[in-house]
């Protein structure tokens, strides 16, 4: 096909899924090109998992179209299977099978030649530091290794589109880094990756982000462009009792939102210089101790809170 390079690997239009009266996904449209990492972020219940299931063609949509590698995935779900790999949120492999047996099972289902399978499995397992555990049963792996095995099984048939639903939930930081290193490698191979996550540091690794709330995609852009959208500025309050500090400042005039970030509170204000004095005064009046307040560059978390609360109003 001559138009292959310009055609996005995944193209979604007007995608809608309802569960009874609730609309889980509401006329979603986006595209993900080969070699792109597209992330869906949003609170629980925003519809991220439903999107991944619809894209994996394991759930039929109520309306809209999904075209994967030029094939209509809604009308012909079986024809896109060999292009797509789906890793659901819950570990979906066989705990009573070993690492190697799980890999062999999925390779057989996808009709991979034995030589190709062995070479690819060796490479993927080495990349994720799993080589010593090939004979271990999947049920005895740590959470991080389970996810890496899941990824290995997902990649054994060299899919063109990789769908990951909360791939690093409950995974230790080291495994998480391994995991993303593999994903970056795939990007180089031209795999289109669609990932749903509630980890915002993970979101910042994506090429583009779709911010979801209640089934609707409110924003869709690169992380830096989204940060530029940020209305107002961020003040970080370092305080020994951050919860008390948050409660005091949240209701002040000019404050768009306040969230806890470790030992500090991030406050979205319409103008940092203008509101600083009022915040200090309010904390002092409420007898809430604080160390320092400084203006910081917004993170994805801040952006998230700010953009989603703004839209809600």
């Amino acid at each position: 096909m001559t138009d292959a390079p310009s055609r996005p690997a995944v193209e979604v239009r007007g995608l809608t899924k309802r569960f009874g009266a609730r609309t889980a996904v509401d006329s979603l449209g986006f595209a993900c090109a080969a070699g792109e990492v597209f992330g869906f972020v949003g609170p629980d219940g925003a519809g991220k998992t439903t999107i991944m299931r619809l894209l994996a063609a394991v759930m039929p949509p109520d309306a809209g179209s999904i075209v994967i590698e030029g094939v209509d995935a809604v009308r012909e779900p079986e024809r896109v299977r060999s292009h797509v790999s789906y890793m659901p949120q819950r570990f979906g492999l066989y705990e009573d099978l070993t690492v190697d047996e799980n890999i062999a099972f999925f390779a057989e289902l996808f009709g991979i030649r034995r030589n190709d399978r062995d070479a690819r499995a060796a490479r993927l397992l080495a990349a994720s530091g799993m080589t010593p555990f090939r004979k271990r049963r999947a049920g005895q792996l740590s959470g991080g290794m389970k996810q890496k095995l899941g990824l290995t099984c997902s990649l054994i048939h060299t899919p063109k589109v990789l769908l990951l639903d909360e791939p690093t939930a409950g995974v230790d930081p080291v495994s998480r880094r391994d995991f993303w290193r593999i994903l970056y490698g795939l990007r180089g191979e031209g795999v289109a990756i669609v990932v749903a996550t509630s980890y915002l540091d993970e979101a910042e690794r994506c090429g583009r982000l779709g911010l979801m709330r209640e089934g609707r995609m409110l924003y869709c852009d690169t992380p830096s462009a989204l940060k530029a959208l940020m209305p107002g500025e961020i003040l970080a309050i370092a305080a020994p009792a951050p919860r008390a500090a948050r409660d005091v400042v949240a209701s002040l005039e000019g404050v768009g939102g306040a969230i806890l970030m470790g030992d500090s509170v991030h406050v979205v204000v319409d103008g940092a210089a203008r509101r600083l004095g009022a915040i200090e005064a309010a904390l002092a009046a409420a007898n809430v101790p604080f160390d320092e307040i400084e203006r910081i560059a917004p993170s994805i978390e801040d952006l998230f809170v700010s953009l989603l609360t703004e839209k809600a109003e």
């Binding site: 299977r81 979906g92 492999l93 066989y94 289902l109």
Partner: protein
């Protein structure tokens, strides 16, 4: 359908079965236990009915009549009574199920009227036992009194008394009328129906419960490939179970086997496909393991015990219930097993029930393949 994917699913399933020794034991031991339980528990023969006798005459004739009771394997005379009150007490206390009372003028009436009456008092709280015991009592008394008359005629130098037409019985296929010979094929059919549906009832629901199905449905495996791959290993286990059950029936319970092994193998395979398909259908329709297993139990146990002809003869059922029995696959397998065991029937003799099972297998297979959908919720 790609054989490679069928093989992959079957291999995966075999590894899972072998790695779960507890459920493997259940799969192999459950039929053995059921065979032992049902083989010993279900016995429709009534022998050694406890009896008491009350001889009001005390003559040689009356004694020889009562000796006939003593000698019969159907009765064991546990006590002799002296009064009616003793008879009543013995029956009330449950020491005997039947009391034989010989009247004081037994030999005299027998001599004069050529017919005498003997009283039998029965405890009919269990009406089936009472009925059968009564039949036995009539046979014993009839034979004994015939002998008495014959002896007396010979003693008096008279021609033997004229005996009305007597039926001469030739019992075919189960010559000894031993109910176990007829029950064992039924027990095998029952156990195979139960075990077969149980084997596959978990196979799909387990994948849903463990969350492995969500990945599986996103792969190119088709529902037919999945079904074939999943049923195949259980078919082998089912055949092993069937071999165990049939060997227990023949070698342990001494059920006569007159047919050919190949007919048995063919028909058993056919029945296994039906019950395994039924279990798979239930498993695919119900996404919880406990629910699927229980429904499989109810769906096989009740119809098989009540409607297969094993416990209650189908010919005796009201017409609508008889129609219902056509829906019970064990009905066909039971009649096939009975014929192979007792008559030595071959495949040609069994064409009708085999055709019914084949039709059943096709329908169940179709339903099972359609019940599984490659979509969530």
């Amino acid at each position: 359908m790609m054989l490679r994917r069928v093989r992959a699913v079957a291999q995966k399933e075999i590894i899972q079965i072998l790695r779960d020794p507890r459920s493997l034991m259940v799969v192999l031991l459950m039929p053995l236990m059921q065979m032992a339980l049902l083989g010993y528990g279900v016995n429709l023969d009534i022998k050694h009915v406890p009896a008491c006798v009350f001889d009001r005459e005390g003559s040689q004739q009356s004694q020889s009549l009562l000796k006939a009771f003593q000698a019969s394997q159907y009765f064991s005379v546990v006590e002799s009574e002296r009064t009616y009150a003793d008879v009543t007490r013995a029956i009330d206390a449950g020491r005997c199920k039947i009391a034989i009372v010989v009247p004081h003028d037994f030999s005299e009436t027998l001599a004069n009227a050529n017919a005498a009456s003997v009283q039998a008092i029965l405890d009919a709280t269990d009406d089936n036992t009472a009925n059968i015991a009564l039949g036995y009592a009539q046979a014993v008394i009839g034979a004994a009194s015939g002998n008495i008359q014959l002896e007396r005629a010979q003693a008096m130098g008279q021609p033997p008394p004229v005996v009305p037409a007597v039926a001469e019985y030739r019992v075919w296929y189960n010559e000894d009328l031993v109910s176990r010979n007829y029950i064992m094929p039924g027990v095998v059919a029952l156990v195979m129906a139960l075990v077969g549906a149980q084997l596959t009832s978990l196979t799909i629901s387990r994948e849903w419960e463990r969350g492995t199905m969500e990945v599986l449905v996103s792969t190119p495996v088709t529902s037919l490939e999945l079904m074939a791959g999943k049923i195949l290993p259980y078919f082998v286990i089912g055949l092993i179970d069937a071999a165990f059950c049939l060997m227990i029936a023949v070698f342990w319970f001494q059920a006569p086997f007159r047919g050919s092994i190949s007919t048995l193998f063919f028909t058993t395979s056919l029945f296994l496909v039906v019950v395994l398909g039924l279990g798979y259908f239930i498993s695919a329709s119900i996404k919880s393991q406990v629910g699927a297993s229980q429904i499989a139990l109810v769906a096989t146990l009740l119809p098989t015990t009540l409607l297969s002809g094993f416990a209650f003869p189908i010919e005796q059922m009201p017409a609508p219930i008889q129609w219902l029995t056509y829906l019970v696959p064990a009905r066909y397998y039971f009649s096939i097993l009975k014929s192979i065991f007792l008559k030595g029937s071959g495949i040609a003799d069994l064409a009708a029930p085999i055709a019914a099972l084949a039709l059943y297998a096709a329908v169940v297979g179709l339903l099972a393949a359609r019940a599984f959908k490659k979509t969530l919720g």
